[in-house]
């Protein structure tokens, strides 16, 4: 288990907001915002894997992309390796690019169909280093070896590869500049189950070999349980709960986490039939118009009056365990807030 006590914080996200404006009418008037990521704060320690889970549309991918500045964040601070990148200009951001990379969800769309494998893996190298073409080729071969691709494939085009091989190409490209931090945006969601395990094992091997730090975005709770050291659960643009992996799976605190974990399929048919599942009612509210108070209050099985008025603070309720829920807030503090 990953020990967070002495580790260095590699990524610090504070109050990150990513709103997408809604424009309507002929004059494209700004009439509202889709709050895809709404005030999210967390740290990622060097060498760990933070799993980011949640249902479709909860903002986990947007969060991952905003951290790497693929979007311009509306508000908040992002520090990677001690450097603030949330508002920096193109050139200083470009200098930070080698530190942070990404593995994409769709291995088909994430590779330019008109470039050869060597061109794809070599592009970051020619952009950020002054290698001769021989040195570059040597590095490309080295990376291909690292991700388990045959060197003979260097001059082929992406469509000649299977999904798993394409994902390996994407991983090789991400590794090319020796990054410290890699956002894995559902890297296995588009792959066959048999290939998923291969790719996840590859990611784990590479983490060990190169000391990488991952933000592993996924909706596959079993896979996150396998790979992550700590897990953050997102719901409707906010982090509901963040805790070490074993603790969150053994003893989820937030009602949403409980419901989410009880939905994991149970392979044992007897256990499946007797499982005590929490079935949530209703649908996820629109992120353009989130409910007042706690954003889970419309579906929460243990909702209280206070939940519909005051937004719960995301705070550390036990060592290493963060949760945003009134159930775990100090009662006197909440009473003060109501008064």
């Amino acid at each position: 288990m990953f020990d967070t006590t002495n580790a260095k914080k590699l990524v610090e996200v504070r109050g990150l907001k990513m709103y997408f404006p809604i424009r309507t009418g002929l004059l494209r008037k700004h009439t509202g915002d889709v709050k895809a990521v709404d005030d999210v704060s967390f740290d990622i320690f060097e060498g760990e894997t933070l799993g980011l889970v949640g249902e479709s549309g909860c903002g986990k991918s947007t969060c991952g992309r905003a951290i790497l500045r693929l979007y311009e964040p509306t508000e908040g601070s992002i520090k990677i390796d001690g450097v603030e990148i949330a508002q920096t200009d193109f050139n200083s951001l470009r200098k930070m690019r080698p530190t942070m990379q990404m593995v994409f969800q769709d291995p088909q769309a994430s590779l330019n169909p008109r470039m050869t494998l060597a061109g794809i893996i070599g592009e970051p190298l020619s952009e950020h280093s002054k290698m001769t073409s021989d040195e570059r080729l040597a590095r490309i071969y080295e990376l291909m070896d690292a991700v388990g691709l045959n060197r003979d494939f260097a001059n082929r085009y992406p469509h000649e590869f299977s999904g798993g091989q394409r994902q390996r190409i994407g991983i090789a490209r991400a590794l090319a500049l020796n990054p410290k931090f890699i956002v894995c945006d559902e890297p296995i969601a588009a792959l066959d189950v048999s290939i998923q395990a291969q790719v996840v094992n590859l990611l784990e091997d590479l983490q060990e070999k190169f000391g990488l730090t991952y933000l592993f975005i996924s909706h596959d709770l079993s896979m996150v349980r396998h790979i992550a050291d700590r897990v953050a659960v997102m719901y409707l643009g906010k982090v509901a709960e963040l805790a070490p992996r074993d603790e969150i799976y053994a003893d989820p605190l937030h009602p949403y986490t409980k419901a989410l974990l009880s939905a994991v399929p149970e392979p044992d048919p007897v256990a499946h039939d007797t499982a005590n599942r929490t079935i949530l009612q209703g649908d996820v509210p629109s992120p353009a118009n989130p409910p007042q108070g706690c954003n889970f209050c419309t579906r929460c099985p243990v909702v209280m009056d206070i939940c519909k008025q005051i937004e719960p603070q995301f705070q550390e309720v036990r060592p290493g365990r963060f949760v945003a829920c009134h159930l775990y807030e100090n009662t006197t503090k909440t009473a003060e807030k109501v008064a």
């Binding site: 690019r97 769309a109 691709l149």
Partner: protein, 318 residues
């Protein structure tokens, strides 16, 4: 992950690009389509005939010293009554060999056509990429200009540009610049199609993850547009370019026919038709007929080639 039954990369690299193109899906579709083969053959033959005109043409119609006015109005295939000279396709009023003028005229027509399409392509692709990738006000302004231009017929836009250019050029240079003005006029009336198609395709491509990956590497927007998006939006552009070529040749002929294009001293196909139609009712039909036929065959062949290319590159029709 190893692959033993396929040839190593070395042999694959040794195969020429031409052989690979012949083996590709498009090559297969080409070999199966007689229309495509015939139109490609006719187009290439006509282009070669035009480019190599000095080798094939019996006379140089642009050199007045070689002309004999006594040869005027010689009918095709029959010897002239005064000089005894015989001409394959006859002569026009000034004694110019129609066959030679067609070859030289086609040169001008094709040169104007190719240059105008190239100009329209460069302009349309750049503006389309910019509009699609940058978006916002840039896109609005570019695309509204395109929309406004589409409300005028292309030939009218070309005539307007030609007229303005003619007005501001000194009279002694007019014949020299006429061809270049023609190219710009046709090119400017044709860029909208390219811009629209490229913008549409760019909007699709720019959201694909490989573009995000290039941004993550830190590539500049210009590099992303040229290195990543452009190669992926080129196949529809190729189709439009082929069809545009036929249209540009016809547009050039139309402008020349209307007397605002290539000057009569260096006639294009359109100028020849324009000259010939004056003699149609006095019996000298060949002066009009052969240039018109050549234009028809050229435009038809290029158009059919474009049609086939559109179908061949359309994945839904495969």
């Amino acid at each position: 992950m190893t692959d033993t039954h396929l040839p190593p990369a070395e042999t694959a690299r040794a195969r020429s690009r031409l052989a690979m193109a012949w083996d590709s899906d498009v090559g297969w579709s080409f070999r199966r389509s007689p229309v495509a083969m015939i139109s490609a053959f006719v187009t290439i033959a006509l282009i070669l005939a035009a480019v190599l005109a000095p080798l094939f043409a019996p006379h140089d119609p642009f050199n007045p010293a070689t002309l004999n006015l006594m040869n005027g109005f010689t009918a095709p295939g029959t010897p002239n009554a005064f000089t005894g000279d015989s001409f394959l396709l006859g002569t026009d009023d000034q004694g110019r060999d129609v066959f030679s003028t067609i070859l030289y005229g086609m040169r001008i027509s094709l040169f104007v056509g190719f240059s105008a399409v190239a100009f329209a392509m460069v302009l349309g692709i750049s503006l389309g990429l910019l509009a699609g990738y940058v978006g916002g006000w840039t896109e609005t302004i570019i695309m509204r200009i395109a929309d406004v231009q589409l409300t005028f017929p292309a030939i009218l836009v070309a005539m307007l540009i030609f007229g303005v250019a003619k007005g501001i050029t000194p009279i002694e240079y007019r014949d020299e610049v006429a061809i270049w003005v023609l190219i710009i006029a046709i090119g400017l009336s044709d860029w909208v199609q390219f811009a629209r198609v490229v913008r549409g395709a760019t909007l699709v491509e720019k959201h694909k993850e490989y573009v995000q990956a290039a941004r993550l590497i830190g590539r500049s927007p210009l590099a992303i547009m040229l290195r990543h998006i452009l190669p992926n939006v080129l196949s529809p552009v190729l189709v439009i370019a082929t069809i545009s070529l036929a249209l540009a040749i016809i547009a050039e002929a139309t402008l020349s026919f209307l007397g605002v294009g290539a000057p009569p001293t260096t006639p294009s196909l359109g100028t020849l038709i324009s000259i010939g139609q004056g003699f149609l009712f006095s019996g000298e039909w060949w002066i009009l007929f052969f240039p018109a036929c050549t234009l028809l065959i050229l435009a038809l062949a290029v158009n059919l080639l474009g049609d086939w290319l559109r179908d061949a590159l359309n994945p839904r029709l495969r």
